[in-house]
Symmetry: C2
Subunit: 427 residues, 2 copies
């Protein structure tokens, strides 16, 4: 890299916002919002737009067997592992314009700045758009990054079907044809990244409340999902004395109290949510014979999740208001802690642009959760209004987003300067 | 009455059980259970059977404008108010063979015993079958007794429709024609009873647990029904810190705890049931924005219900985990305490046949709830297996039922002896 003058201030904020608006038109809903389901026509057009922008910048476009798209600005030493920046372009049905797209367009803004400022760098820089992060059309999501990092088999991804019975494989074929037609080059072998950076909207309320336009994300919470059933005995609400009841609702109520108490023994980073709760037979004057509920439990520390898992399993062994309980873990995803060195680089960049920013742990999944298993990875968050996401009302302030993009650019500058000749054994 | 020797021992238990089996054939389900919806063909046949039995005993049959049927054994003084004994012959859909029918057949057993023993009595004795106690075909139930006691207008009853759109009035016309054809006499004026006795299955588990074949019922609990809504804010389960949540499930959980605590300040006769409980949007990883539940609250003492009503209303004013609540009373039925003197007579009879029997307050409604507003009224309960009712598995033990019928007969004997010349101003 030529100089250590601040590249961040050279970012063309107007152009960045124009790019974001251009992306927001592809699959736009009326009066607002976005629908670009993975590998549908709009999602493919969004990729094509990205390739065109890269082409105009003199960057080469590449794609792989899962339709992940890479814009590459070559480095002085093409053998070095590329610095990878990006996110995803697909959306939820009836979704918002910033979830994912912001991170890709921000990467493009970094490329534009490097080109416009005539910066040269030893290490290649690549902007990536991962395929099917949302999982709304083909479940589960984060297909592109999961495959890229070797954490999910192609077979599992390709055989997934959408609601119309169309396979991922069939939808992908059209996409790959389009990418080829746009002059993107097929990569037969994955390229190992030097590091991965992802800027994303927070999808939570903390940054807005704290008035911080950007912050470092130090990791992604682990998530355990459970289904609990409490079994009692149905009886007449009027004729059955309390002492003779096996009331499944009251059993569940008591058990929830104990689960809450177990959670309260840990720090306030625990997220404990009961999102579904039903009783049967669901009649005003019948004592329920069954209560069923779900638990969504999150924490950044695997040890805390393990301790709570053990506590929950123990509580399920007890009798609750004369009822028995069953607790079944339906999903367990371990937390990820991002790379310390990379987090420090982002910390410095954030300090330069927003000294009072908090550090957050992401409560939602992102492609970075898979990348973190492959290469040094870290994220930046920027606030979204009222934490609303996956909804047409998803909204970010242009001023916040610009600070976030400048922060990202600042970090990229530091990485290209200070780390361009270190640790290249990984290439 | 001729003598004070025990009429109870003269009851023909075998004949009583045969009568009950004969009734169980009318509308029988396979392999067991009964379906005789109010005023359907089977329900009408059950009335015809009753009239035929009365005819064979030399009792006259009467009916009124709601199809209530009365078998009358004349007294030496026909101007005295009749002692009324009975219950109902209609059933729930997919119901049991004893709910209601037992009380009518038990009244018939009393008549048979009086006739067979050649007993004469000053006061007339009548056995009644009330129309549409269950309310399963035409809601609300207890139509016949509610009209008879002046507590419900004929218009409201007659215009009720079944699921096929047929009115109560139309179904009743067929019934009245049949009753007339069977030689029953139409009563243009209601006959004021001297007292009303009803034997019924408990429909709860207490007597079976205590091994008591019969007990006195001292009243019927009052019932308040409520609907509660707790309003919070939907948010992402992973990204929203606990301090920033308005979790409607957790609000409802806290409120239920407070409602339970309010209930616990009263005696153990309170029945507090949450039979329905739902959350929305009902997604594993979304904090619920709404929780809705019902409350079924019962107690024999109106003052306790009033105190709890006030406490519940106050609790609904509070904030629960950052959520607001609304509590709406959807139904309030005042408790009924049965006539002390009549309860004492039943107590003596029960003491003679089952010294260890408890006294119960009925948790379910019966025709007696209306009669109690018109004349001295009381009930006897006999156990049903596991408290199961409104189900084909409804079951009573013959030995228990015989003790209950003998107890009823014992009480009738006492009433005809000791009370036949008292309090006839009510006729």
């Amino acid at each position: 890299m030529q100089a250590s003058t601040s590249l961040a201030s050279a970012v063309d904020g107007q152009r960045f916002w124009k790019d974001l608006e251009a992306q927001a038109q592809i699959g736009a809903l009326s009066p607002r919002g976005l629908q670009r389901l993975a590998l549908d026509d709009q999602d493919n057009l969004a990729r094509a737009w990205l390739i065109e922008q890269g082409d105009a910048l003199g960057c080469s476009a590449h794609y792989d067997a899962m339709g992940n798209v890479f814009l590459r600005r070559e480095g002085l030493d093409p053998t070095l592992a590329p610095l990878l920046i990006g996110s995803h372009l697909d959306s939820q049905p009836n979704g918002g314009a910033y979830d994912g797209t912001l991170g890709v367009v921000a990467g493009l803004a970094v490329l534009r700045t490097l080109v416009e400022q005539g910066i040269t760098h030893a290490r290649p820089v690549e902007v990536v758009s991962w395929t099917n992060e949302e999982g709304a059309r083909f479940a589960p999501g984060a297909s592109g990054s999961a495959w890229f990092t070797g954490r999910r088999d192609a077979e599992m991804i390709l055989t997934a079907q959408d609601d119309d019975g169309l396979t991922f494989k069939a939808a992908l074929a059209d996409c790959l044809t389009l990418l080829e037609a746009h002059g993107a080059h097929f990569r037969t072998e994955p390229v190992m990244p030097h590091a991965f950076l992802e800027l994303h909207i927070e999808q939570g309320p903390v940054l807005e409340e704290q008035g911080a336009p950007v912050c470092v994300v130090t990791g992604i919470q682990g998530v355990n999902w459970y289904e609990v059933e409490v079994h009692g005995q149905a009886n007449h609400a009027g004729t059955t004395p309390e002492a003779m009841r096996c009331d499944a609702f009251m059993g569940a109520h008591a058990m929830v109290g104990a689960l809450k108490a177990a959670v309260a023994e840990h720090d306030d980073q625990v997220r404990f949510t009961i999102g579904k709760f039903t009783v049967s037979p669901s009649s005003v004057n019948t004592i329920p014979n069954q209560a069923r509920f779900t638990i969504d439990l999150r924490h950044p520390d695997a040890a805390v999740l393990e301790a709570l898992d053990a506590a929950f399993q123990q509580l399920a062994q007890r009798e609750w208001s004369g009822c028995t309980a069953q607790l079944k873990a339906t999903s367990q995803v371990a937390p990820v802690a991002f790379d310390d060195t990379l987090v420090s680089v982002l910390d410095e960049a954030v300090q330069a642009h927003c000294p009072k920013a908090p550090r957050l742990v992401s409560g939602a999944f992102h492609d970075a959760i898979h990348l973190a298993h492959l290469c040094p990875t870290a994220m930046l968050f920027t606030p979204c209004r009222a934490g609303i996401s996956h909804h047409p009302d998803e909204h970010i302030e242009r001023a916040d987003a610009e600070v976030a993009v400048r922060t990202l650019t600042h970090a990229v500058e530091q990485l290209l300067i200070t780390r361009s000749h270190e640790n290249d054994a990984d290439n």
